[in-house]
């Protein structure tokens, strides 16, 4: 190390990087490489192209070129093109029902408003400078449903429900206050508020007190708002179509995450009773088809309840879906937990964090993050599986499509509505799966430097 260098050193000048030789660029080179690199490849290319042409052509012929676009009844369609082309007017007439079910037409704005609220609620997640994204996401999952449920259902509000609805309003205001403060002022809402009150220099304890009072005031205001609030009741029997599908799968998804986390922790627990019960629950609900669970809850839950309890049919289906989804989610999350290296647990406990703290701060965030693609996959599965509620007679998207063909005017028209339903499902699922693939790629990058 202490060797002396005889001469003064030369300075190393790295050569500038050259661009790669252009031998392989341009569309022709690309085609040669990817489509016609050798004879079997070329044959496969031609075959693939042919299949694409035939399939796409046939579908277009039926759905677009040969279709009837305006008619008063199916009879007219049949007289015009027989069964060679699609008959869209029936679907068009029923489309509102396929989306909102039998929800009173003049109240449909409430459904729209509900989903708009959700969009607004999660919009801050896409604002670049907002940092409390986790809290906003959690609030969307935990508070939004109360607000939405009243919006959708309406009617008389019990005290408990009122309390929760007020929490929903409170949450919405908080989310946007936070989002605006962080996006434009670049600091948490608390600080903005303190600044506005001129209490920035108060002692920590005082500041906290002020914030708490502000939150409480806001809640009281929200509660007061609910007192004046009375929407016409729309019974769940009238819910249907895509709206119902979204409600069922949405609740299932929302419920499955926390329940799945608890079940997964339970299954990994050191306590034999807890772990056995969790395992039994998970395995039972994973080994039977959803349709049998739906059947069971649909026909038997009223028998399980004390005489006279009236359990709404939608609620039963939702409970079934939730149990089912929770069991699946538990296994996904367990996979994520297993992937967390032991070193993480050890580091957390060597820093003095307890079981629940390290689960909350260290383990779960990482496990959930690793498993996001799998979780989204689960969501997609659940979303598709909700089609099964049509079999127990809920008017979801699928049943609504079926009802078109039972309308006296459009009797027998059922392939077209199913086609539309398939497209709707595809758009939703494909969007979700693309999102998860994108996320997966981003996560993979995050593992490297830079």
């Amino acid at each position: 190390m202490a060797e002396t260098h005889a001469e003064t050193a030369l300075i190393f000048q790295p050569k500038p990087a050259r661009p790669a030789p252009a031998a392989a660029s341009g569309p022709v080179a690309w085609m040669r490489r990817n489509l016609f690199s050798d004879v079997p490849n070329a044959l496969m290319t031609l075959l693939g192209g042919y299949i694409l042409f035939v399939v796409v052509g046939a579908v277009l012929d039926w759905a677009v070129f040969g279709a009837v676009w305006s008619a008063e009844s199916r009879r007219e369609c049949l007289d015009a093109v027989g069964r060679a082309g699609a008959c869209w007017p029936g679907v068009a007439e029923w489309l509102p029902n396929m989306i909102y079910g039998l929800y009173p037409k003049e109240l449909v704005w409430r459904v729209n408003l509900g989903f708009l609220t959700l969009l607004l609620w999660i919009a801050p997640l896409f604002m670049p400078r907002v940092v409390s994204k986790v809290n906003i996401g959690v609030s969307a999952v935990l508070l939004f449903p109360f607000l939405a449920s009243y919006w959708f259902h309406g009617g008389e509000m019990g005290l408990l429900w009122r309390v929760f609805v007020a929490a929903g309003i409170w949450g919405f205001v908080w989310v946007w206050a936070t989002a605006l403060s962080e996006q434009f002022a670049g600091r948490p809402i608390g600080q903005t508020l303190l600044a506005a009150l001129g209490a920035e220099d108060a002692a920590d304890a005082d500041q906290r007190r002020i914030l708490r009072i502000a939150a409480a005031l806001l809640y009281v205001a929200a509660l007061a708002l609910t007192l004046a609030w009375r929407l016409e009741e729309v019974g769940t029997r009238l819910w249907g179509g895509l709206f119902l599908t979204l409600v069922i799968s949405g609740i299932g998804i929302t419920f499955s995450l926390p329940a799945g986390i608890l079940l997964a922790l339970g299954r990994r627990s050191d306590m034999p009773v807890i772990s056995m019960l969790s395992t039994a629950f998970i395995e039972l609900f994973r080994s039977v088809p959803l349709i049998t669970i739906l059947f069971m809850f649909n026909t038997m839950m009223p028998l399980f309840m004390p005489e006279g309890t009236d359990v709404n049919q939608l609620l039963r289906a939702i409970v079934a879906v939730c149990f089912f989804a929770a069991a699946y989610m538990a296994e996904v999350i367990r996979g994520g937990l297993q992937a967390i290296p032991r070193g993480q647990y050890e580091a957390a406990s060597s820093l003095g964090l307890g079981y629940w703290r390290s689960t909350q701060l260290i383990v779960m965030p990482q496990a959930l993050r690793i498993m996001i693609p799998a979780i989204v996959g689960n969501f997609i599965g659940l979303f598709k599986d909700t089609t099964l509620v049509s079999i127990i007679g809920l008017f979801d998207l699928m049943s609504m499509a079926r009802a078109v063909g039972e309308d006296t005017k459009w009797l027998g028209l059922f392939i077209e509505p199913f086609f539309v339903v398939a497209m709707i499902y595809f758009v939703f699922c494909f969007a979700m799966s693309s999102y998860s693939i994108g996320l997966e790629k981003k996560l993979a990058q995050g593992r490297d430097r830079g």
């Binding site: 050890e346 580091a347 060597s350 820093l351 701060l361 830079g450």
Partner: protein
């Protein structure tokens, strides 16, 4: 056997901060630690070395109860480790630990990694915790990386963050488990430098390492382990130049 008393510097002896007596530990049927006795005084720097599987990691992991010991006593700063929440928490508050694989929390920024324990284990307000974290990051010379995520740093930087994180609990004792062996040779030095500084500031340190240069430079005492036992312990001058046991000599000849 050279007692720890001999190794410690002369004069009025500082307080004993770690006392291990008759420690035995089993993994299933495997006897991993056998009758370990070890006393560490305040400000002492101890390097533990020995062949792979000799129980070095297990020993220091027992000290902050990452491993539960079956027999014997471990007393840290007067608290006897019993496996109950109270004593474990008390000890872990006094002892910082640095791992071979860094074990940083990849989903948190460097600053959050460091501020976590003060905030949640010490219930410090966030502002204070972050200020504390910044001073520690300055001490390991990477304050400018505070907002980055661990995986965006080089190995050496990560290990320095890990040290800063451990220091944020203001521990009186630091444990290191092979802090440099997952690092590229280029980065070893930057981590050792930080450790040397820490030693010079008078931190009590228990360090498992194969870096004999480091041992020579800062250790007050080198402890050599084999097959779950402490074979010998001595001041580095003596240990390196004149080990007592042939096992030690064999080991030294391989590693130097």
């Amino acid at each position: 056997m050279t007692g720890p008393e001999q190794a410690a510097a002369g004069g009025a002896k500082p307080a004993r901060v770690i006392e291990i007596a008759g420690l035995n530990k089993w993994f299933g049927d495997f006897h991993a630690l056998k009758d370990i006795d070890l006393t560490v005084r305040k400000g002492e720097r101890i390097v533990i070395c020995g062949p792979s599987g000799s129980g070095k990691s297990t020993l220091i992991r027992c000290v902050n109860h990452l491993e539960r010991h079956e027999e014997g006593d471990i007393i840290v700063n007067g608290v006897t480790l019993r496996g109950d929440k109270g004593s474990v928490n008390a000890v872990r508050g006094e002892v910082g630990m640095v791992f071979q694989q860094f074990n940083l929390f990849p989903h948190l920024t460097v600053l959050e990694n460091c501020a976590l324990a003060p905030m949640f284990a010490r219930k410090m307000p966030r502002r204070e915790a972050e200020a504390l974290a910044m001073t520690r990051l300055e001490r390991v010379r990477i304050p400018e990386q505070a907002r980055k995520y661990p995986l965006q740093l080089s190995g050496g930087q990560q290990q320095r963050v890990a040290i800063a994180r451990a220091l944020c609990l203001r521990p009186s004792i630091m444990l290191f488990d092979e802090p440099t062996s997952a690092l590229d040779p280029e980065m070893i030095k930057e981590v050792l430098d930080v450790m040397v500084e820490l030693a010079e500031e008078g931190m009590t340190m228990l360090c498992v390492t194969h870096e004999m240069g480091f041992a020579r430079q800062v250790a007050d005492r080198v402890v050599f382990m084999d097959q779950g036992e402490i074979v010998e312990q001595a001041a580095p001058e003596i240990f390196f130049s004149n080990p007592r046991y042939d096992r030690t000599r064999a080991f030294l000849s391989q590693i130097l």
